[in-house]
């Protein structure tokens, strides 16, 4: 008897709960949905987490400021595991089932590129937060990107090493994926212009954490500087092993290093490492300052490039919706194409291909934190591809 009573009560409680959920569902129906595909499991889950929190933060900030055209912004989140295989059904689901009018990618190049085709086909604007592959925006005029393509950042790296640091003999340590390869291509393209001689290049795979053989060889090459592409989880062990192998020339990285976790892994070896990236920790801009503070409060750890990019992409989506004043995808696309926006990653606008125009932030590790080294503001050198 007692048991039956408990069961009935539990059932009633569940029923009540589901009714409540149903109710909140109808309230939310009067919201603007923005889709996001982001890796929440698998090898890229760490970056996915930062990107998602950044995007959520932008949505919360927008809702606190009156939402979009009188409605609240609601994120529709799917885990794509950074895999093209999952990205396509997710993009289809966002378009067909969730009927989003705009979506962003908080994922890597493979997944983003695969999803971009679906959104382009459906005529739904799609903004890539930090994927670097050049083909992404070539999917068509509904696809935008708020981060640099690899080549642009590679050229900035060459200017930094050849001009600002005045180092001419450089060894490249290249991550063997689209990110590392496109950075290396950009670097090589601009190397001659800045008088750089590339003395050697080594490649490694994203799964490598042991760089002993490369360190041994670089030591015998004796370069003036090392341009090494990678993510914090490869660059951390790499820099630490370069330093303990007795190599003390400057190491220059890129936005893949841009995480407090890099400093944690490499420890003392991270001091003096310089990177090209999108987030300036010592920025005077109120946008960047408020983002850095709000992110740390929400996430419980320090902001990184991926977080700032997720925030920026979501901000662009919201600004596009507001400016369009309707939920017509064509109007939203046109609004984004004509935007000039203050974001945590700087003042951004888009070229004809949907590629971002902004300055490159150069950061250096000092006393266990990222700080401003310099800013590269050279529109010719940093011109993104136009087609």
């Amino acid at each position: 008897m007692q048991e039956k009573l408990i069961r009935t009560t539990a059932f009633a409680a569940l029923l009540g709960a589901s009714a409540a959920i149903g109710l909140s569902g109808t309230v939310l129906a009067d919201s603007v949905k923005i889709g996001i595909n982001v890796p929440q499991t698998g090898f890229a889950a760490a970056d996915g987490k930062s990107a998602l929190i950044g995007a959520q933060l932008a949505a919360e900030q927008a809702n606190a400021n009156g939402g979009v055209n009188g409605k609240d912004v609601e994120l529709v989140v799917y885990d794509d595991q950074a895999s093209p295989k999952s990205a396509v059904p997710i993009a289809t689901k966002l378009v067909e089932q969730d009927e989003v009018k705009i979506a962003i990618s908080g994922s890597y190049s493979g997944a983003t590129r695969a999803a971009a085709g679906v959104f382009q086909e459906a005529g739904v604007p799609y903004i890539s937060a930090f994927a670097v592959h050049p083909e992404i925006t070539r999917s068509g005029d509904y696809v935008f990107r708020t981060s640099f393509v690899g080549e642009v950042q590679g050229r900035a790296g060459a200017k930094l090493i050849g001009e600002s640091l005045g180092k001419k003999k450089v060894t490249l340590i290249t991550l063997k994926n689209d990110f590392g390869k496109s950075l290396a291509n950009g670097f090589k393209e601009a190397a001659e212009k800045f008088g750089i001689e590339i003395v050697s290049e080594y490649e490694y795979s994203i799964k490598d954490r042991q760089f002993g053989p490369i360190v041994a060889k670089v030591k015998s090459d004796a370069p003036d500087a090392i341009y090494a592409s990678g993510y914090f989880f490869t660059a951390g062990p790499l820099v630490s092993q370069l330093r303990s192998g007795g190599i003390d020339v400057p190491v220059i990285g890129q936005e893949g290093y841009d995480s407090q976790k890099f400093i944690e892994i490499a420890g003392g070896a991270s001091e003096g490492v310089i990177i090209t990236t999108s987030l300036d920790r010592d920025s005077d801009s109120p946008e960047a300052k408020s983002f850095i503070a709000a992110f740390e409060e929400k996430a419980g750890y320090k902001a990184d490039m991926v977080a700032a990019s997720g925030h920026t992409a979501m901000k662009v989506a919201i600004a596009g919706l507001r400016k369009a004043g309707s939920d017509d995808p064509k109007a939203i696309r046109d609004a984004i194409a004509g935007l000039t926006l203050e974001a945590s990653t700087g003042t951004i606008s888009f070229n004809g291909l949907g590629e971002v125009r902004k300055d490159v932030q150069v950061q250096v590790v000092k006393d266990g934190n990222w700080h401003r080294h310099s800013i590269i503001s050279d529109p010719d050198l940093l011109a993104p591809p136009e087609k």
């Binding site: 090898f43 002993g212 989880f233």
Partner: protein, 286 residues
């Protein structure tokens, strides 16, 4: 000089491979099961090593906890996952093992977070000169630790009663049982020892990279399979030699073949080459 340095780096990597592969080959020799989830114990060993070192400041204590704890977990995996499947075809246990490994990776991510964890004050990071080559203390410790642990194990299997019983069980389980060998106990001991060694490898890798990630075991999980095939399945000495050889070949390959072949592909190119010439493995008896 460069060649010598590459050789040393190869031996460091090879020692790690050896520590992981020994457990696999013990299990294969005994049960004919490809124990993919073994690499999950390697990863968890790394996590425990970092967490205990960070909490207490003692790496020795971390090893003393991580190794027996993973040993026991290895036995538990055998008892709960493999033992009930022993009567089935080997691929059933293999599938169970792969499923278990995926589950472990995702559990690590959920429990310890996606970013991986690091030592707050990494031990053994000073450099020492070995015959004119700079090595990290951790690298030296890995090499010495690997050789001492596996050498010790080899001695035990040759010189002790349990070792003899274990070898007898590998050769002919039914006959060994008829002679009074407690086969269940031998299996437990093999899982315990193999898993404890994998845990030591996990702690060593944590020291070398100052990073333990949920997916740390994914490369070793399949590369160790290549190594035990090369070594002649179930052969301890062959496994050790194959592991060290692969480490050295990879070290040279990274520099001289790096633009042609991925480092992880070298193991399999080597495997294919060996299987074409010696299908029984490098040291397997034809």
């Amino acid at each position: 000089m460069l060649a010598f340095e590459l050789l040393l780096q190869g031996l460091v990597q090879g020692s790690i491979y050896a520590l992981i592969a020994v457990g696999l080959t013990l299990v294969y020799g005994l049960l004919r099961i490809l124990h993919v989830a073994h690499a999950g114990l390697f990863t968890l060993g790394g996590y425990i090593g970092v967490l205990i070192t960070n909490a207490t400041g003692s790496l020795a204590l971390a090893l003393l906890v991580a190794m027996p704890a993973m040993g026991l977990l290895g036995v538990a995996i055998y008892r709960t996952c493999y033992e009930p499947l022993l009567g089935r075809p080997p691929y059933v246990a293999l599938i169970a093992s792969i499923g278990l490994f995926i589950m472990m990776e995702e559990l690590f991510r959920l429990i310890f977070g996606p970013y991986g964890i690091s030592f707050t004050a990494p031990p053994l990071q000073n450099t020492v000169a070995v015959l004119g080559v700079n090595l990290k203390e951790a690298e030296l410790a890995t090499m010495i630790g690997g050789i001492v642990l596996i050498g010790g194990l080899a001695l035990l299997t040759l010189r002790t009663r349990i070792g003899t019983a274990s070898r007898a069980t590998v050769t002919d389980p039914k006959m060994a049982e008829a002679f009074g060998v407690n086969i269940a106990r031998i299996r437990d001991i093999n899982f315990f020892v193999g898993s404890a060694l994998a845990a030591s490898a996990g702690v060593m890798v944590a020291l070398l990279n100052n990073l333990v990630e949920p997916t740390m075991g994914s490369v070793p999980s399949y590369k160790a399979l290549a190594i035990i095939v090369l070594g002649g399945l179930g052969d301890l000495r062959g496994t050790l030699i194959a592991a060290l050889a692969l480490g050295v070949i990879e070290a040279f390959g990274t520099i001289y073949l790096g633009n042609l072949l991925d480092r992880d592909a070298i193991a399999f190119a080597f495997l294919i080459a060996v299987l074409m010439l010696r299908p029984q493995g490098l040291f397997g008896k034809g």
